[in-house]
């Protein structure tokens, strides 16, 4: 019966050849479409492993005031704009039911760690004329009775803190409050905390000048409130001054200034990627390994250290680094103070707490160095790394920093980040606009996820075209050829039945050849489709089109396409031909059954009528 069935098909060689050719082509299209869809699916899954979408949030000021102040430097009134951020919006206000976070928003502080016995890399480009320390505590005597509304000469009597080269110098001192008309008398001695700058002399030439520094202020944030800032940058020095409370404050300030010079910034994080510099590729692990998700989650005592800091201190992977943390700064980002390429650094926070004491260490632990990172200069403060920075898991700091908050401010792009599902930025913004606070501004960084996702979507679109063409053609072909190879064999089937062949036998005679040719064709077609998929895969893994020399793409990013291997699931490859063959078998069986079900005599009668 099987041979007869095949023989019948071979009697119409052109038609059979067309059928085989069509089926091969259609199966190839279906296999190609199915394989690419499978590849895109696997690629999409990998995307979520490779890419992360982080959002940064910053608070808009509640109001902005146009202010005027007297600039003693230029000897004229200047205009500036004072932005009011208080009360600060808490990071918890971002937690609304409609938004799902992978990592919830957190206003990240940076900790100050006192590293007395370590060598700290210094600023690379420092103003040559100010050469070195800008801040000093000095005992001075005014050359003449004066106020500090304008610049006045004062003679340095004693240096409490700062470079000795200033000894006995006469320096210009400028106040910063034009309403402070306190008199300074030439027969009295004063102690002052000043910052070196440059100012014009009366004859027009420039000279060293000194202005008050914020280091002497108190900016502690305690019990959820800002301590009322004390900005006492001078005091009169009298007999027994340093034994009294006000004198001890100056000695504390001296210690605090010295300690700050020996301080490195420690960045607690939920993931390395949540630090913008790392996320944007401006910083990357050069040696060792990144901290793992598990280490971040369990708060293990491991850290990432800047390559330069490690080099200066002979630190290697696996070494232990003891971090005595003594303050937490929520008010600004560490890059502004600990920056590699600026000589404009200055204190915007005070070094003494509300009790006029230097902050005590609140947490001290040894951390194992797991990786050394390198950072290049970012496009902004926010995507740079501070000098001598150390990254630790946030959960590893088990002590509370509430008594050691040196400053507190609004959420900033550089200190508040969160992670959301890839590709959900629009949904996030829609929900935020409906339910959130309009005083907050967001920016999102997805490492180019949207671009790669777009590419995969286009690939998927192509695959869908292949599949639809294949599917429609398959359905049409199967019905068309079933009609030709089965329905048109009605007379043969009738004769076979009249010759005593059973219904089952007739079915076999009608179907076997057809199904055999179908199976072979589908097999060849699937093979061809899989081969074409290989070509497709090769084409998606071509070498870089663009020269990456001088590029700001870091090594990890450059290999992003390599990180998304487009693999085909074998089960899905096999599913396509199996389903195709099943479909052909079912349709062919229905066509054959319709013929076999009829009575041969009835059929013969119909034939006679014709």
């Amino acid at each position: 019966m099987v041979r007869k069935s095949i023989k019948t098909l071979l009697r119409t060689p052109k038609m059979t050849f067309s059928f085989v050719l069509f089926l091969i082509f259609t199966s190839a299209l279906l296999a190609l479409g199915g394989n690419i869809i499978s590849m895109v699916k696997s690629g999409s899954q990998k995307l979520d492993e490779v890419f992360t979408t982080i959002g940064v949030v910053s608070q808009e000021p509640w109001d902005t005031k146009r202010m005027e102040y007297y600039n003693a430097y230029f000897k004229k009134n200047e205009i500036y704009y004072e932005e009011n951020y208080r009360p600060e919006i808490s990071d918890s206000s971002l937690l609304i039911d409609e938004i799902e976070y992978i990592q919830t928003p957190w206003q990240r502080p940076y900790y100050g760690a006192h590293m007395k016995d370590y060598v700290l890399t210094r600023l690379e480009s420092r103003n040559v004329d100010l050469d070195g320390l800008r801040d000093l505590i000095v005992e001075v005597t005014p050359v003449e009775d004066c106020t500090l509304v304008d610049t006045h000469l004062m003679k340095i009597e004693k240096i409490i803190f700062g470079y000795d080269s200033y000894s006995n110098m006469e320096i210009e001192v400028i106040g910063n409050d034009p309403e402070d008309t306190t008199m300074f008398y030439k027969d009295k001695k004063y102690i002052m905390c000043l910052m070196a700058t440059v100012a014009p002399k009366e004859d027009g030439t420039l000279t060293h000048a000194f202005t008050p520094t914020m280091a002497a202020a108190t900016t502690q944030y305690y019990n959820g409130e800002h301590t009322k800032a004390k900005f006492e940058f001078y005091d009169e020095v009298t007999e027994g001054f340093y034994e009294r409370e006000e004198g001890k404050r100056w000695l504390e300030l001296k210690d605090a200034l010295q300690r700050q010079l020996e301080t490195i910034p420690v960045l607690p994080a939920d993931s390395t990627d949540s630090l913008l510099a790392f996320h944007k590729g401006k910083a990357y692990i050069e040696e060792g390994a990144d901290l793992s998700v598990e280490e971040y989650e369990s708060g293990e005592k491991v850290c990432l250290v800047s390559q330069a800091f490690a080099r200066y201190n002979n630190l290697a992977i696996g070494d232990e680094l003891e971090l005595p943390l003594y303050y937490a700064n929520y008010g600004t980002i560490p890059q502004k103070f600990f920056y590699t390429n600026s000589d404009n650094w200055y204190y915007d926070f005070g070094l003494l707490n509300k009790d006029n004491k230097a902050y005590p260490v609140f947490f001290q632990e040894k951390y194992r160095i797991k990786g050394l990172y390198t950072a290049v200069s970012g496009e902004s403060w926010e995507d740079s790394m501070p000098m001598n920075g150390v990254v630790i898991p946030a959960k590893s700091v088990t002590a509370k920093d509430e008594d050691n908050i040196i400053d507190y401010g609004p959420m900033l792009e550089g200190n508040t980040t969160f992670q959301i599902q890839n590709g959900t930025v629009e949904e996030f913004m829609k929900n935020w606009q409906a339910y959130g606070n309009t005083q907050l501004e967001f920016e999102f960084y997805d490492k180019g996820y949207s671009l790669v996702e777009g590419s995969l979507k286009r690939m998927e679109k192509m695959a869908i075209i292949f599949s639809i063409v294949g599917l429609i053609m398959m359905v049409s072909l199967v019905f068309f050829f079933c009609n030709i190879f089965i329905t048109k064999q009605r007379e043969r089937a009738m004769i076979e039945r009249l010759l005593g062949v059973s219904k089952k036998g007739v079915m076999i005679s009608l179907l076997t050849g057809f199904l055999l040719f179908s199976a072979v064709s589908v097999g060849i077609g699937t093979g061809l489709g899989t081969a074409l998929t290989g070509v497709f895969q090769e084409e998606t893994r071509t070498e870089a089109i663009f020269d990456l020399t001088y590029s700001n793409i870091n090594v990890d990013e450059a290999n992003v396409y390599e990180q998304i291997p487009l693999t085909v699931d074998v089960r899905e490859v096999l599913a396509v031909p199996i389903v195709t063959l099943l479909f052909i078998a079912v349709v062919a069986a229905i066509f054959a059954r319709r013929i076999v079900r009829d009575s041969p005599l009835e059929m013969l009668g119909r034939r006679e009528d014709l």
Binding site: D203, M462, T540
Partner: protein, 404 residues
């Protein structure tokens, strides 16, 4: 007219076959349109991103930590200057002026004017520049001794636009360790060709007092047998797609890539391109266009084969009808025209509907769609004619006998 009427009648009579053929033509044409749209949209988007994603570059030190206060060798600046693929070229270096003679060593501490030798007014943060008639930003590319000054300087010097101003230039000396010092000064007369003002919103008050053409300062230094080196340089690409050519030129000049582990220095001998967004996006598009171009001919060829086979099959199924027309006395050519017309009418309907659908999908233009439709129609015609030749070979007597 008779043939046209008969063709329409035949289409109606063979309703099922006509619908099947119509659907096939519609589908095949639509697929081709969609592929073409996809390719065109991708190519169009790619052209757009080449315009919309800027690629900028800047000279940095070897560690990549600094792109200002550098010492940039002259040949490195010349490479940027001579590169035709670059635009918005900006070089700058400080130059100190005084209106009286002083010891140059103290120039930064005395009552001096901080100037920038540059080729572009972009070097200052103050954008509102009032130019002397006939002068423009191009004047900064000259070698003439012209200056643009800040308004406070103009007032302090009690001078005005278009007048000459005598100023002492303090000459640079760059030692073997790339440390810049100033050791002597010389008076020159500069023509004031513009002044700039800062408005209240400009908080950056660190801008230069004077802008002067860098070529002029370089020439003055050369006259004294000195080198005047730029301390910062940046640029952007005219066409980001030419990035490989630009990088090739820069490599030949000797520019290095950033090596973060290197010893920090002030030498501006490395380049950093802000090109990650462009490269990632463009690579994506190039990949897609390449894939589309590889698979488009394959798919087109396959679709054309399908069209031919479909037409052939449909014709073969009507072989007896063809022979009947012939037996009835119709000439071979007339029957051929009749059958061709039938197929063309159906195919025309299919391609027109597909054209409309593709226009609704918003991709291809009428012209391109029409060309593609014509191509489909041509294939159908060719397929029909080949099939007709094949049918025509059958013997009429055979057909008559078979029907008997």
């Amino acid at each position: 007219m008779f043939i046209f009427r008969t063709a329409v009648e035949n289409i109606r009579r063979h309703k099922r076959k006509s619908i099947l053929f119509f659907m096939a033509c519609l589908l095949l044409s639509l697929i081709m349109q969609v592929i073409l749209i996809n390719l065109q949209v991708t190519e169009r988007e790619y052209l757009e991103i080449r315009r919309s994603i800027p690629v900028t570059g800047r000279v940095t030190n070897l560690t990549g930590t600094s792109s200002s206060r550098l010492v940039i060798p002259e040949k490195n600046i010349a490479a940027i200057e001579n590169c035709d693929f670059l635009k918005d070229k900006l070089y700058q270096a400080p130059v100190w002026f005084t209106n009286h003679e002083i010891d140059s060593k103290d120039v930064r501490m005395n009552n001096s004017y901080y100037g920038l030798a540059t080729n572009s007014a972009e070097a200052t943060s103050y954008k509102e520049i009032t130019w002397l008639e006939g002068e423009s930003e191009k004047s900064l590319s000259d070698e003439e001794l012209k200056i643009i000054v800040s308004k406070p300087l103009l007032e302090a010097e009690n001078t005005s636009l278009g007048k000459d101003l005598d100023l002492y230039i303090h000459y640079q000396h760059c030692d073997a360790y790339d440390v810049i010092s100033y050791d002597f000064s010389k008076q020159h007369t500069f023509r004031i060709i513009g002044f700039y003002t800062a408005n209240d919103n400009e908080q950056d008050r660190q801008g230069a007092d004077i802008l002067v053409p860098y070529k002029a300062i370089t020439a003055l230094h050369k006259e004294e047998g000195r080198r005047y080196l730029m301390d910062g340089a940046s640029f952007s690409l005219v066409d980001p797609a030419e990035i490989n050519a630009v990088k090739e030129e820069m490599k030949k000049t000797g520019y290095l890539s950033i090596a973060p582990g290197a010893v920090p220095s002030r030498k501006g001998n490395a380049l950093l391109f802000e090109d990650s967004t462009f490269i990632k996006t463009a690579t994506n598009f190039e990949d897609n266009i390449r894939l589309n171009k590889i698979f488009l001919p394959v798919l087109l060829g396959a679709l054309l084969v399908v069209i031919y086979l479909l037409v052939n099959m449909l014709m073969q199924s009507r072989r007896e009808e063809y022979l009947l027309y012939r037996v009835m006395g119709m000439r071979r050519r007339s029957v051929g025209v009749l059958f061709c017309l039938e197929h063309i009418l159906i195919a025309l309907g299919g391609v027109i509907v597909s054209l409309i659908l593709s226009m609704i999908m918003g991709g291809t233009s009428w012209m391109q769609g029409a060309i593609l439709s014509l191509l489909v129609l041509l294939c159908i015609c060719v397929g029909t004619m080949i099939a007709l030749v094949s049918i025509g070979r059958n013997s009429l007597m055979l057909a008559v006998q078979k029907n008997d």
